[in-house]
Symmetry: C2
């Protein structure tokens, strides 16, 4: 019944396609039928081979990099595999054969000392560095400015569980450790990280830290930035060990300056995170609510209560109708009541605490208008939880434009934000003659607010990059106008930079710029990412 | 049974003495007996009148300040009342008649615009600013460098509940609002902040933010830095509105750069904080554990559980023996079993969630070797919870040296830290011929660690400032050597600055310095506090 998450394997994504190439997903007949209703009846043009430009790395710089002991590659295949991330625009550029964002070399250190040595070489030879580990960015985090030759600093060989403090429940990982590998290593000691973003199969510990990842169990185990107690950061001006205690009143919390810094201030080499014993019990339920407003009110009540589940997620009517919470049967008729909204409620822990929370939460949800659907919809969601994005490639193949975006605000602003973003996207796509389906779910809640995650499907036009840019710009403007944050867990990268700078304003921007200039005075690290 | 905390009044501390002058505490005969055992048998010299030096503020600057619309005072009494905080060294200097730290003027704006105008005048006239609100600093936070004339920027007239978002459970307060006033204003709407540091009667919303205050219900409602969702900060380079969402992946969390900044980066003028409905039920219990190690293990189990109480506190054998957890009967025989350690466990919330947590926690504590003592010791602690520090003045009067200090570390390091700090203090005081009693409690716990709060009593020597400095330096060195943080909730101020800079190291220091220089380029704000 309660399969361990550690059976999920590390997956090496193929450049330009999300997920496990050995286990792709195919569109069901019912999804194809739904696409037809949106006028999607012609497959996308066949992808063009991606040609990458010649490396701009000079012989001297190459020799100096090789002298650090790190592995260095300048061949086309390796460089192509470290180009861009996995946003729909990234995938579309791949399909068009656009290789212009390829790094000039890929450098893979195996030790922290080699990372520092590579930083020094980059400084001497005027190179830019783009730290790479999971590569699952969906906001242009792999696309630094290209004025100088760009090195992809591949951290995947900085891997492993360095230390486990079972008493304090703290694990120290090398930053390049992939999440499934981290779980496998912890499980040998009876522990678990419990951090399950949808990019789980590909993402790394360091990547989750610098992008403020949020996992599907965030109400239970916290966001990744809540879980981090310490970081080692290699900066061009030296190494920093950050975080001496769980919490402290000794000045600003400088962990929070590196978390979310997206490689622009330094290269995170090790991360100390809170872990917990492997749960003895995992229980996932489906609940039905008559509409989104009722479900949302129930989410809020639980988020503001002292007794909480481990997982809490609510699909709106559109997402529930398309059954997207269970991608294995997406588009098929839902097993539960017709209409309304599906909520997934999960509990993990030992028998006693799960029982205690289950009884309390069940009583609350019944009181708030929910109908229990039993464990089947919850388990179906749990088993398929990482496979939603797998649908994107076959949808793009079929001629659809499909993309997601997310935001976060306070509870009192959530309905307005959902309505405004939906209207902005459907308006911008409708103006181009392509009506869109916009679905939404809440998957991360806090006492004071919640995230909104939108999935958009429309017919792809001849230039889908421009078509989507109009929708994305409209969504960004709606988010800004509503006073919400431009991203809840996808980070800033290059795609969100403009809206992000509006969001924080001049004073905060000057503080960030000052930190950047102090730690990376020559601007080697990720130029153009986070800050211009 | 469950008296509301809102019956506790705002208290105007008298300079040089902690707490409510209308309700002082006196030493019981049994405490006096305990002091005799430490050789404390001669009262301290009578306090000398404090003479403050003439103001250094020029007529031009004074006129310009008055032109801002803020109230300006340069009389001796007002300046004396804004001098230093309430550490034992602060109190000792008062007793010695030392007025050398008095500000040159006290400026009290009533609006955010006036704050900005005062910053501009300070810039033009080369004045320093020391933001003041609660004035309860115990780490030299009211003692900036005095190279330039010093203004005490009194924020107590920036007061009130500006907005209450009941749906999102967010209250917006003017920074100078005192905590009991904040509770009174919220209670009118059925809400509560639930932040109860021991300085509750005097402390303010803004002060709690910039010093990362921790309240006695931190396991239930979080530390103050957990509760803050937004801040307005007036800096010399402009106003910043920080915090657009509960949590976000949009870059570093810049709230965490202002929280703990102790007025060195800007003047916090409003704070948005998470609040909760007034609890229908408050239940506080006492528990007995055979020794500190057993009690500590139980604390850790609860801190690492998904189901937690609202208050959790453990006194060690020494503190339990002196009955310090209940200052009204300090030194009297404890009501419970002789020996061992007293734990206080409190629950607040609605009937259903308190019942649920109470049953779970009770079962855990019984399993972990605790003996339930019923509600009497818990209620006694709750009623007297702010009065512990009231004992300090009569103890100083009686000829004792008494002071507290606190630190925080990870669980696996806690026993070592407690032993090393205790040995450092007793060693440093013993070397001076004054054996000391060192008591300790844990009052803030996290999944990965906990705070330690020490209370020290010894006979005062002729120069108690030097006597204590030796003990404090030894404690600081022990904390640093153990890798712990120099402060859990008392902040850095001037007293902890040296050890703090060692704790964070050069790279983090340069990042902080860069932020300081960007936001306060002429160094007007709190020179010497937090950073040199």
């Amino acid at each position: 019944m309660t399969q361990s998450e550690t059976t999920v394997e590390v997956v090496d994504f193929v450049p330009g396609r999300w997920g496990n190439p050995a286990d792709p997903m195919h569109l069901s007949d019912s999804v194809i039928g739904a696409l037809t209703m949106l006028g999607i009846n012609e497959p996308a043009p066949a992808p063009v081979d991606v040609v990458v430009p010649a490396t701009r790395l000079g012989a001297d710089a190459l020799a100096a990099l090789e002298g650090t002991g790190a592995a260095v590659a300048t061949d086309d295949d390796t460089r192509r595999s470290r180009m861009r991330g996995f946003s729909t625009p990234d995938l579309l550029k791949f399909r068009e054969g656009d290789g212009t964002d390829a790094p000039d070399a890929v450098v893979a250190p195996t030790t922290q000392e080699q990372v520092a040595a590579v930083l020094a070489v980059a400084d001497q030879h005027d190179l830019s560095l783009n730290p790479f580990s999971g590569g699952t960015s969906v906001t242009g985090g792999m696309m630094p400015e290209r004025e100088r030759p760009v090195l992809s600093l591949d951290l995947r060989r900085l891997t492993g569980l360095i230390d486990l403090d079972e008493v304090s429940q703290i694990a120290t990982f090398a930053a390049g450790t992939r999440l499934p590998e981290a779980e496998r290593l912890l499980a040998e000691h009876g522990f678990e990280l419990g951090h399950f973003p949808q990019s789980y199969e590909g993402a790394t510990i360091g990547g989750c830290a610098v992008t403020r990842s949020a996992g599907q169990s965030s109400i239970g185990y916290g966001r990744f930035d809540d879980m981090v107690v310490g970081l080692t950061v290699a900066t061009p001006v030296g190494l920093a060990e950050i975080g001496t205690a769980p919490k402290s009143a000794a000045g600003p919390d400088l962990r929070q300056l590196i978390l979310g810094s997206e490689g622009a201030f330094g290269v995170v080499t090790t991360v100390r995170v809170h872990v917990h014993p492997l749960p003895a019990v995992r229980r996932f339920y489906g609940w039905h609510f008559p509409d989104f407003v009722a479900g949302e009110a129930a989410m809020r009540t639980l988020a503001q209560s002292a007794v909480k589940p481990t997982v809490l997620r609510l699909s709106d009517e559109a997402e529930t109708g398309l059954n997207l919470a269970n991608p294995s049967s997406a588009g098929a008729a839902s097993a539960g009541p017709v209409g309304g909204c599906l909520m997934v409620v999960g509990f993990e822990g030992d028998e006693a605490d799960v029982d205690c929370r289950d009884v309390y939460v069940t009583a609350q949800l019944e009181k708030l208008g929910g109908t229990a659907l039993g464990t089947e919809p919850g388990e179906a969601w749990r088993v398929g939880r990482f496979r939603g994005p797998y649908l994107r490639d076959p949808l793009l193949d079929a001629g659809a434009l499909v993309e997601t975006l997310e935001t976060v605000t306070f509870w009192s602003n959530l309905d307005r934000l959902k309505a405004d973003v939906t209207a902005a996207i459907t308006g911008a796509l409708g103006d181009q003659g392509t009506p869109a389906v916009v679905m939404c779910h809440i998957s991360h809640v806090y006492p004071t607010g919640a995230s909104l995650y939108f999935t958009v499907i429309a017919k792809a036009l001849e230039n889908p990059l421009e078509q989507w840019a109009a929708a994305k710009n409209a969504a960004n403007a709606a988010i800004r106008a509503a006073g919400a944050s431009i991203t809840h867990h996808h980070a800033v990268g290059t795609d969100h930079r403009g809206t992000y700078l509006e969001e924080i304003g001049d004073v905060q921007r000057s503080a960030l710029r000052a930190v950047k200039d102090a730690l990376d005075p020559n601007g080697l690290l990720n130029p153009g990412i986070l800050l211009p």
